[in-house]
């Protein structure tokens, strides 16, 4: 499939009931650890999911990341906090392979981003500022489409919709008619359907109501318990802080560890 790029987690051997949506928050992490590693794995089992060393990345001529270093292990939920314009979004986009590495080293899921930004892409899920939804299509159509791009089955799509509380009334409503919060839920459902190994979420709580936030949090916990790794940029420190296993601060395009 992807030469020179080591699968670290479960996607190839993942059964539908392993799916964070289907197994909800109950899946024990130990089961996952017992699952055999894919045979083509070349990276050591303990290799970090994200490993950035002094990464510089530019937007036009502006250095959005100015020597960012960060290591994230599998199963972690890392909260990125920091002021506006600090580089949180760029950090997430870089990890998704959307932003080129100008200087420094960046390895995500065993793929060297300086060499190849494509290979990592179908293994990460990014929820950016934009939702990536087609406004003229219904909620169900959108989730089905994005699920289909990674070969998700109808049952998985249905489970994702249910997880974000979209399965009933809203499934047949065009996205154009949804509120901002409902769109965010739809985008999250698309993300759940994508079965990513690394979840990159940019302000996922923004616009969600209390119920939506609870659903999001339990979804992320379930995903992490199922072996996925999560990076969240958020200003909702109280909520995201409770969720996160680790908090790092992004300032001036650099990353600082903080003891939570």
């Amino acid at each position: 499939m992807l030469a020179g790029c080591a699968p670290l987690a479960f996607p190839s051997g993942m059964k539908p009931d392993d799916h964070p949506a289907a197994s909800a928050a109950t899946a024990p992490a130990t089961e996952r650890a017992a699952a055999p590693m894919p045979t083509q794995a070349t990276a050591p089992a303990g290799a970090p999911v994200v490993h950035l060393v002094e990464v510089v990345a530019v937007l036009g001529s502006f250095p959005a990341l100015a020597g960012a270093s960060l290591t994230v292990q599998r199963g972690e939920i890392v909260l990125l906090r920091g002021p506006n314009g600090a580089g949180k979004t760029s950090l997430l986009r870089l990890c998704a392979g959307l932003l080129a590495v100008e200087r420094g080293e960046a390895t995500v899921l065993g793929c060297d981003l300086a060499v190849d930004r494509q290979a990592v892409r179908n293994r990460v899920g990014l929820l950016g500022h934009a939702n990536g939804l087609y406004a003229d299509l219904t909620v169900g159509d959108n989730v089905r489409f994005w699920g289909a791009t990674v070969g998700a089955t109808a049952a998985e799509v249905q489970a994702s919709l249910q997880r974000m509380g979209l399965a009933d009334r809203l499934a047949d409503v065009p996205v154009a008619r949804l509120s901002a919060g409902q769109r965010r839920r739809t985008a999250l459902a698309c993300l759940v359907a994508r079965r990513a190994e690394l979840w990159l979420l940019d302000e996922p709580h923004a616009g969600l109501d209390a119920a939506g936030r609870d659903e999001l949090d339990s979804t992320l916990r379930a995903a992490a318990a199922a072996g996925a790794t999560v990076m969240v940029a958020s200003h909702e420190l109280e909520r995201a802080g409770a969720l996160a296993s680790r908090v790092v601060e992004v300032v001036g395009g650099q990353v600082r560890e903080r003891s939570a």
Binding site: R121, N122, L126, H129, A130, T149, V150, R194
Partner: protein
């Protein structure tokens, strides 16, 4: 996931969007019809109109192509879907083929309308002997236009916000289609005593055009939309 499955998925998605939004049906098709009427105003004489009808059909097609291509990529960039497609690791070649298929379907509907209008407004007469040539012309030209439209549309979309570049980049490229399809259509309709046998060499050119840009687009699309 195979390129072909991605292509079908993307094409189905684009056509479903059109079915739901009806932007091409409700806005672009009337625009194209309007262009045909405007041509008649500009040229006024019936004899001239009959003579140039094939060229006008294809010219109106090219103008509408620009509009449809803008729309087709506005769908992808409005809410970051193009980024999302990349993060999803969807093969760009598949996206290219899928969008080209959807574009070809929409162009085919447009061309049927324009041909009908040429019959009604310009007194163009369809000739039974040229029907095979006519259909072949429309099919090959449409495929070529769909490939070029998707390719250059992707370039303009990847370059964010510079849609004004699209006509400058795309119209010179589609000039051979305008020439080839117009000549072949004239031959099929018997304009000025042309016979279908005059038209077939042009089909070769149109097919070559479609093949070259289809192959080029499948290979190059990824590096054009990649930011």
């Amino acid at each position: 996931m195979s390129m072909w499955r991605i292509a079908r998925l993307v094409a189905a998605k684009d056509l479903r969007i059109e079915r739901r939004s009806r932007v091409v049906a409700n806005q672009v098709l009337p625009f194209a019809a309007l262009v045909m009427v405007m041509f008649a105003f500009a040229l006024s004489s019936d004899a001239v109109l009959r003579r140039v009808a094939p060229g006008l059909v294809w010219l109106a097609t090219l103008f509408s192509l620009l509009v449809i291509v803008q729309r087709m990529f506005a769908i992808e960039t409005a809410d970051g879907a193009l980024d999302a497609l990349q993060v999803a690791g969807v093969r760009p070649g598949g996206v290219f083929l899928g969008k080209a298929m959807a574009l070809a379907a929409q162009l085919a509907a447009l061309e049927l309308l324009l041909l009908g209008l040429a019959v009604v407004l310009y007194q163009t007469e369809l000739v039974a002997g040229g029907l095979v040539l006519l259909v072949t012309t429309f099919v090959t030209a449409t495929i070529g236009l769909a490939f070029v439209g998707t390719l250059y549309g992707g370039l303009a979309a990847g370059a964010k916000g510079r849609e004004t570049l699209l006509p400058l980049l795309m119209l010179p490229v589609v000039a051979p289609v305008l020439i080839g399809a117009t000549r072949a259509t004239e031959a099929a309709l018997g304009t000025e005593g042309a016979t279908p046998s005059d038209g077939w060499p042009w089909i070769g050119l149109l097919a070559l055009f479609a093949a070259l840009f289809g192959a080029g687009g499948t290979l190059a699309f990824g590096s054009l939309i990649d930011e």
